[in-house]
Subunit: 280 residues, 2 copies
């Protein structure tokens, strides 16, 4: 299955959202061979417990390693928040999560040093973003937004209902922020689905608030780490030259749905998806 | 674990919604011992494929049978729609799903013989309700409503946003119904979560439209079948006397969340929930 001479990067998510991370990785590391696994039979992770998410994520990471991955990107915020240590313990290759890279980009952007993190319930409950932000000297408000993923998967990314749901969530976050004495100037999208609502969020937020997602910063970090590991010859890393990247897609539930919905997240058609069984 | 002399009824759902069916069963068969399993680690089933749902549902049914269940109620519309035959093949006790009982109650209620079924995407895709309605001489429109479960689980059962989502779904259904030449006078709630939106649905629909859910009709059918099986002595079946029923609760994910959210669906506090592992 693998192509000789290419660095093999495993990208894992509970479903489709991690494809926004793969989308950012493709032009950064065009010489790589990518193995993307969406654990669609057991999604969403965002409403589940730490123990269950860790079990699912470790199984998925091990599968990607068995496919020959030299490097693992945990492109799922919930799995990064709840299971990164468990995955690192189980894996024999470098593992990167999206929480730390997201917090790093917020630290570079924020002037007030106050950040609003929008994420799933499980990610918020873990307070992984709050810890990662604090390590950069940032204060944060974490706001769970459980309706956003279903609205995005319904395709209602430009509906009045979605605007209203966002308005309610942002108002609740603003109230909480004020009560805590924070003045956020940066909103960190702590779920890989949320970049599809960037337009509506831009409308709903004041102009001087910066909106960040982890996809771009994660892709840059992967590239930097791979270069420092000397796994990439210099002449292989040509940003913009995405044509030579090879992608393999795997899902644990309907491959048809993966192709249809996944293509929206990846921003290009997905042709072949292989159904795999993780025993769940 | 079982209590001698009591009929043991296994009730299965992907999560919490089936507790509305258990709620209807308790006063109908107060002498029974109930084993309720919510496969919360793998919910929702409503967005997944037939093969995956069948695999999950069969594992769950087998577990309930291993606990000594004499009778199985598949209180999950999606599992009833996609996996009833698979469960019946795998089980050694009588199995009842909620689709057939729902269609039966619609047949008793409808004068126009046209019915609107609201359900999850997977249930609609299976057309199990359309077939069950047709067997009763009813025509039906099946409308998928993927946002309703997340809205209910968010607790937004009386929010303007939920009213607006219902308005959009009902308008789409009305358009489809008219195009097909149907005039529905009955709305069948084809998902066990939806009874929690009965109030909003009542407001949104014309007065002469009847709203039905499967919980009550399923409970009556279970009681009638058990009586015909002579599993219940006459003096054991006293409607209204719910105090003697014994309930055991099992979940595959967080038992705390099951207690909190489940109590809303059951309409009474759930004290003890046992965490079980279905290997998923």
């Amino acid at each position: 299955m693998t192509t000789p001479g290419k660095v093999r990067i495993g990208v894992f998510d509970s479903g489709f959202g991690g494809l926004t991370v793969l989308r950012a990785l493709l032009p950064q590391i065009p010489s790589a061979e990518f193995f993307y696994l969406g654990d669609t039979a057991r999604l969403p992770y965002g409403s589940k417990s730490q123990a269950t998410v860790a079990r699912y994520a470790v199984e998925s990471a091990q599968l990607l390693e068995s496919y020959g991955a030299d490097y693992l990107v945990i492109a799922c915020n919930t799995a990064s928040a709840l299971a990164l240590d468990a995955i690192k313990s189980a894996a024999h290759v470098p593992v990167l999560g999206v929480i730390e890279t997201g917090a790093g980009s917020a630290a570079a952007a924020s002037a007030t040093r106050d950040v609003l993190v929008l994420a799933t319930q499980a990610t918020v409950d873990s307070h992984a973003y709050a810890r990662a932000c604090a390590a950069h000297g940032l204060r944060s408000i974490e706001k769970a937004c459980p309706l956003l993923v279903p609205l995005i998967e319904e395709g209602w990314t430009d509906q009045p209902v979605t605007r209203e749901v966002l308005r309610i969530y942002l108002q609740q976050a603003q109230t909480e922020s004020k009560a805590a004495g924070l003045a956020f100037d940066t909103v960190l999208l702590g779920c890989t689905h949320y970049p599809l609502l960037r337009g509506l969020l831009r409308e709903a937020l004041p102009e001087d608030v910066t909106i960040l997602d982890s996809a771009e910063s994660t892709a840059q970090r992967v590239r930097a780490q791979l270069e420092s590991l000397k796994s990439l010859a210099t002449n292989h890393s040509r940003p913009g030259d995405a044509n030579v990247a090879v992608c393999h897609f795997f899902a644990t539930d309907s491959v048809d749905k993966f192709r249809t919905l996944g293509s929206r997240f990846l921003g290009q058609p997905i042709e072949k998806v292989e159904l795999i069984d993780l025993g769940g």
